[in-house]
């Protein structure tokens, strides 16, 4: 097989970027002790996944799947990218938003109780 960077640069670059974002996000999730930073890291991971999703739907040299005057129905098959990943990304973003909102609310409440944003201060339950 080999890397297809040369032939199809964009999709592969986006894909690699996505994976890099995941790794960076995971590093943050696992090493940062500040809860806010952890949440940011999680959103980085999510974004990374979304980026990958987009890159999978992308076909080199094509355009958005909106069939109007720019892209006619007749040659649509060879002109547009896959609409499904786009739809999935949309959903995934919304879900990410919801989760983040909820996490932040948790953090607000947790901060009220402990006056701390260090994750190590919240290990009340263990073993």
């Amino acid at each position: 097989m080999g890397l297809y960077l040369n032939q199809y640069p964009l999709a592969s670059i986006v894909l690699i970027t996505g994976f890099m974002m995941i790794l960076i996000g995971l590093w943050g999730m696992l090493t940062k002790t500040n809860i806010i930073k952890i949440i940011i890291s999680i959103t980085v991971v999510e974004t990374g996944v979304n980026v990958i999703l987009v890159s999978i739907g992308y076909i080199q040299g094509r355009t958005a799947p909106i069939l109007d005057t720019a892209v006619l129905q007749i040659d649509a098959l060879s002109r547009v990218v896959d609409p499904i990943p786009s739809a999935l990304v949309l959903t995934s973003i919304v879900i990410g938003l919801g989760t983040t909102a909820l996490m932040l609310s948790y953090v607000i409440k947790m901060y009220r109780v402990r006056q701390s944003l260090n994750i190590e201060d919240f290990g009340v339950l263990k073993w």
Partner: protein, 1036 residues
């Protein structure tokens, strides 16, 4: 309208519409929105039931007017129906349970509805991305609900859950993306159809990601710390929903995707399930927080279900539902009930759970749930586990069987320890709202109902034999509160008599002899129970159940029937033991060993691959050796053989006094029967094998050490307990002889044991009843107050010691003859020693209680109650007849054994002859009688007048002792023997088992140490879990 109830889609529509409307309706008033909420839950459950009932073939539900890969479709087949019914009923009752919690927050109600939607969606959807959305709905709703309790525990637990959830959803989404990339579709059925496409690095990574996500949802070891925290930290009602609802969704989602998983790697899933089951239960051992303990148990049970799933995901429907469904249902019912009860009790530490005992209803449900989790019959887990283990056995998965059985034992230990704390009781008042009580009760009833159905369906055409006694026993237990003790006793006895009639009609030969031992013995002993003016409500039901299970044991033809009865017997006897005053600790030891015994039996039956007991005969010899060893270990534990005897003293001593008689006289014969069964069927393999030889030595050692330990007891019932252990030792050796004479001996000794142990325990029960102590040195001189009890005890020890002319001699004669005939000479010598030592404790028993100096405080003691005396008189009568006319019964034994091997015992008149010697019991009795009478008459003639003197009028250097009662020599009576032989009976076995306990607790603590409470650590474990899975799958 009917159509509404038959379309599963309406579950979603109803829930969503209601949830969206709640906000608006709430403006109309709280009542309105509560009605909407509960109405919606009810309708959802109704729709599920309606859809399930109208199901004639799996239903595919398309949406948006397009066929599957174009649009998202749902599936509602039999599997889905089963799981959604569970979930939606749990949701309805869980919603009811959470009434207090939900009534103040309309948002919480909406979240609850959506949670249920999410779970239903996870079960039904056939679209990968849609599954992701439903997982998210479920998770987010759960996060929200956990947050309703805004204390630090709930908050930190919820936050850890969100972190883990974030990682899970990232994994799942990435997996979905890569799967879509490889297959070009999101429809699960299509993906499965194209799974060959996924056999490349990207595809495998995709599968691994998806599976990691779903597995993590099931909280596998060790990536499950966050799950434990959630169980512990969140509200009990929410924890229940997570345990039985969310886990169900995840389980089913996994089930759907399992076909994607390369079949050759299914072992990985099995391994994860097994490790989770084993380690969760191991770690549960050290747990003291009730909800966290339930968390460990939940995780463990789901691990077991996962293990079963990995084996049976392609099995036909009935098998799938029988095993996976059964295990799941068991967990589902029990865990929901227990979490709910935990919410009612509101105590974190299990030590404070005594408060629960104030509500009988809750306690009963608690017991049912705990027993169900342990896997005792007739609860669903028992049947499923049995089938599962049998299948594993036929595949020779020895290691898995061992791990499952050991893990189950751990679980049993911590759950029953908890039960002990419940029984301890408490002064505090238990507040319990009806809304919380009702769901618990309903779940209890459902469990009972399903169990009843399962007895019917699992035991086949024979089931009513097993069903009706259990039903009768249960009824007897429940009416216990309303009808007087004596009437209950009467019911129990008439039940036993009918049962004994029925059983005897249906068996013959050896089984008949055992049936008579169990049931006649039980019947006569039951008379004694009348002496108590007030018995606990359940006592007679349990007593009946125990005897009925013994009857069932004799009747059983299949291994399942046998094991079923065996477990019922364990259950009933455990509950009988634990109803003693201070019996909790002893009962725990007893049940632990009993369950250990059951585990060995299960393993043995599993490895035999035989459905019938008869089938054991057909095993090839190498297999038979293993099977025999396992089964024999099981029976030996129950008989209290040397090394595994440490439960014996506690259980015998701490049970109520009349119950001890049953345990010693009747129950201990169950092990004998079991040993006989396997010895008979595996005769050809076992005869003259090393195995039999070792068993023989074990028996003799048991006899020796039992006797020796009995000699050093101060506690009268412990003395009798060790004595029973010793006597069972002879029986073990006799069965191990595998000869005609040996087996006749075993039967003879067993019957004789029933006679004299009944006498002793009943006599002692009367004494304890009168003097209120079990310490022998606190008694003395009771012969004048309780002459009949004394005679009974005296006859018993004569019969036990083997001194002619009573029945004991026949046993000794047969035993030594049989041992020497077999060539087991050293064993015979050791047996001699053992029976010599037996004299020590027998003398001690009679002397310390009945002879010597009486205590002043006992001067007004009366003879034992009549009800105790009557059975003793009956047993004494039987003993006299049996002693005088041994042929009357010994010949029957000989004939019964003769069915299996040629008889070596011949009779002429009353003389029994063997190759070695002869014995005429009738003549001995007469000669002894005549000499005794002549000597007595001589003495009577010599003394015209005998002056009766007072107690303290003894030759004591011409003085009267200052405190005469202290001259009663009883305490530490055999100090010299202890000096000489005490080293032999250092509590090594106890130390060993203590060590086992200690070590498992240490291990438990060590493993639990990985759950640091830090959310990041948990995340790291999840990552490692993925890497491990990835490594294992990629390794090929």
């Amino acid at each position: 309208m009917v159509a509404y109830f038959q379309n599963p889609l309406n579950i979603y529509i109803t829930a969503m519409a209601a949830a969206f409307l709640l906000g608006l309706v709430h403006k109309l008033g709280k009542m309105a929105s509560l009605t909407l909420f509960y109405g919606a839950l009810t309708m959802m459950a109704a729709v599920t039931l309606g859809s399930a009932l109208s199901l004639s073939q799996p239903l595919i539900i398309q949406t948006a007017g397009f066929i599957a890969p174009l649009s998202i479709n749902l599936q509602f087949g039999y599997y889905e129906a089963f799981f959604t019914i569970c979930v939606n009923i749990a949701a309805l009752l869980g919603g009811l349970y959470l009434y207090d919690y939900l009534k103040d927050s309309v948002l919480a109600r909406a979240l609850f509805l959506m949670l249920v939607v999410g779970i239903n969606g996870m079960i039904m959807t056939r679209d990968l991305f849609n599954l992701f959305i439903f997982i998210e709905i479920t998770s987010i709703a759960t996060y929200g609900l956990i947050g309703l309790d805004r204390n630090i525990k709930a908050l930190s637990a919820g936050f850890k859950y969100i972190l883990a959830g974030g990682m899970i959803s990232a994994f799942f989404l990435l997996g979905t993306a890569l799967t879509y990339y490889k297959t070009g579709t999101l429809n699960i059925d299509q993906i499965i159809a194209m799974k060959d496409v996924l056999q490349d690095p990207i595809g495998l990574t995709a599968i691994t990601l998806l599976l990691t996500a779903l597995l993590i949802e099931l909280k596998p070891f060790p990536a499950n710390g966050w799950g434990l925290d959630v169980y512990q930290g969140s509200n009990a009602g929410i924890a229940a929903m997570i345990s039985v609802g969310v886990s169900t969704g995840a389980l089913f989602a996994l089930y759907k995707l399992l076909p994607l998983f390369p079949a050759q790697h299914m072992g990985i899933i099995s391994g994860i399930g097994l490790a989770t089951f084993f380690f969760s239960n191991l770690m549960g051992l050290k747990q003291t927080d009730a909800k966290r303990m339930l968390g460990y148990s939940s995780i463990g049970q789901m691990g077991l279900v996962l293990l079963a799933l990995s084996f049976f995901h392609t099995a036909p429907l009935t098998m799938f539902l029988g095993i996976v469904g059964g295990l799941f249902l068991n967990h589902f019912l029990a865990k929901a009930a227990l979490f709910w009860i935990a919410g009612i009790v509101k105590k974190d530490h299990i030590k404070e759970w005594g408060i629960l005992s104030q509500s009988k209803m809750l306690t009963v449900v608690f017991i049912i749930a705990v027993f169900a989790l342990i896997g005792l019959p007739p609860f669903p887990g028992f049947w499923a586990k049995w089938q599962f283990i049998m299948v594993l056995g036929s595949g020779n998965h020895t290691f898995i069987i061992a791990a499952i059985l050991i893990g189950s034992l751990f679980e049993a230990v911590y759950l029953l320890r908890w039960f002990n704390y419940v029984l301890a009781g408490s002064e505090e008042k238990l507040a319990c709202e009806k809304s919380k009580r009702v769901p618990v009760l309903i779940f209890g009833l459902i469990t009972a109902f399903i169990s009843a159905l399962l007895i019917k369906s699992s035991l086949g055409p024979q089931s009513s034999i097993y069903f009706f006694p259990i039903a009768f026993a249960v009824i007897l237990m429940f009416v216990g509160n309303f009808i007087p003790t004596k009437l209950r006793a009467l019911f129990a006895i008439s039940g036993i008599s009918y049962l004994s009639y029925y059983v005897q009609m249906n068996v013959s030969g050896l089984n008949l002899i055992f049936a008579q031992m169990f049931l006649w013995g039980g019947m006569i002993l039951s008379i004694a129970t009348f002496y108590k003016t007030k018995a606990k409500p359940a006592t007679y039901g349990l007593l009946f159940l125990m005897l009925a299970s013994l009857g069932g044991l004799v009747l059983s033809r299949t291994t399942l029937e046998f094991f079923f009865c065996w477990e019922i017997m364990t259950l009933a006897s455990y509950l009988l033991v634990i109803s003693g005053k201070n019996a909790k600790k002893a009962a725990l030891t007893y049940i632990t060993f009993s369950l250990g015994s059951a585990a060995f039996l299960m393993a043995g039956f599993a490895l035999s691959n035989s459905l019938t007991l008869m089938g054991l005969a057909a095993l090839p010899s190498s297999q038979a050796t293993i099977v025999f060893t396992l089964l024999a270990l099981g029976f030996l534990i129950k008989m209290g053989a040397f090394g595994v005897h440490i439960w014996v003293p506690g259980a015998y001593a701490e049970a109520e006094d009349d119950i001890s008689a049953f345990i010693a006289a009747i129950l201990s014969k169950a092990g004998v029967f079991g040993l006989f069964v396997i010895a008979i069927y595996m005769q050809s393999t076992i005869s003259n094998s090393t195995l039999a030889y070792s068993l023989g030595w074990l028996g003799i050692l048991t006899a020796t050490f039992g006797a020796l330990m009995a000699a050093f007891q101060e506690d009268i019932k412990k003395l009798l307990a060790y004595s029973s252990m010793g006597q069972m030792g002879y029986v073990i050796a006799a069965v191990a002889l595998m000869s005609h004479l040996g087996w006749v001996t075993a039967l003879y000794l067993s019957i004789n044991h029933i006679l004299y142990k009944s006498l002793l325990f009943l006599s002692v029960a009367g004494v304890i009843y009168r003097v209120n102590t079990r310490e022998m040195y606190k008694m003395g001189g009771l012969i004048k107050k309780m002459p009949i009890s004394f005679i009974s005890a005296m006859m018993a020890i004569i019969a036990m010691s083997g001194v002619p002319p009573l029945t004991g001699f026949g046993g000794k004669w047969l035993m030594y003859t049989a041992l020497i005939e077999k060539g087991w000479h050293l064993q015979a010598a050791l047996a001699f020693f053992a029976s010599g030592i037996a004299f020590l404790y027998m003398y001690r028993l009679v002397h310390s209680i009945f002879l010597g100096q009486a205590k002043p405080e006992h001067k007004d003691v009366k003879e034992a109650p009549l009800w105790l005396i009557i059975p003793q008189v009956i047993f004494m009568g039987l003993m006299m007849v049996g002693s005088t006319l041994p042929r009357l019964w010994v010949e029957k034994l000989s004939v019964a054994v003769g069915e299996f091997m040629p008889s070596t015992l011949t009779w002429s008149g009353q003389t029994a002859t063997t190759s070695l010697g002869y014995w005429n019991g009738f003549m001995v009795m007469n000669i002894v009688g005549v000499i005794f009478v002549i000597v007595l008459i001589f003495l009577l003639l010599t003394f015209q007048k005998v002056q009766k003197v007072k107690q303290f009028n003894i030759v004591f250097a011409g003085e009267r002792p200052f405190t005469p009662e202290t001259t009663h020599v009883a305490y530490n009576m055999y100090a010299p023997v202890q000096k000489a032989l005490g080293g032999w009976v250092k509590p090594r076995a106890t130390a060993f088992w203590d060590g086992v306990t200690e070590w498992s607790h240490t291990l438990s603590h060590m493993f639990a140490g990985i759950y640091t409470g830090n959310g990041q650590t948990y995340l790291f474990f999840i990552l490692l879990f993925f890497l491990m899975l990835n490594f294992l799958i990629g390794a090929n």
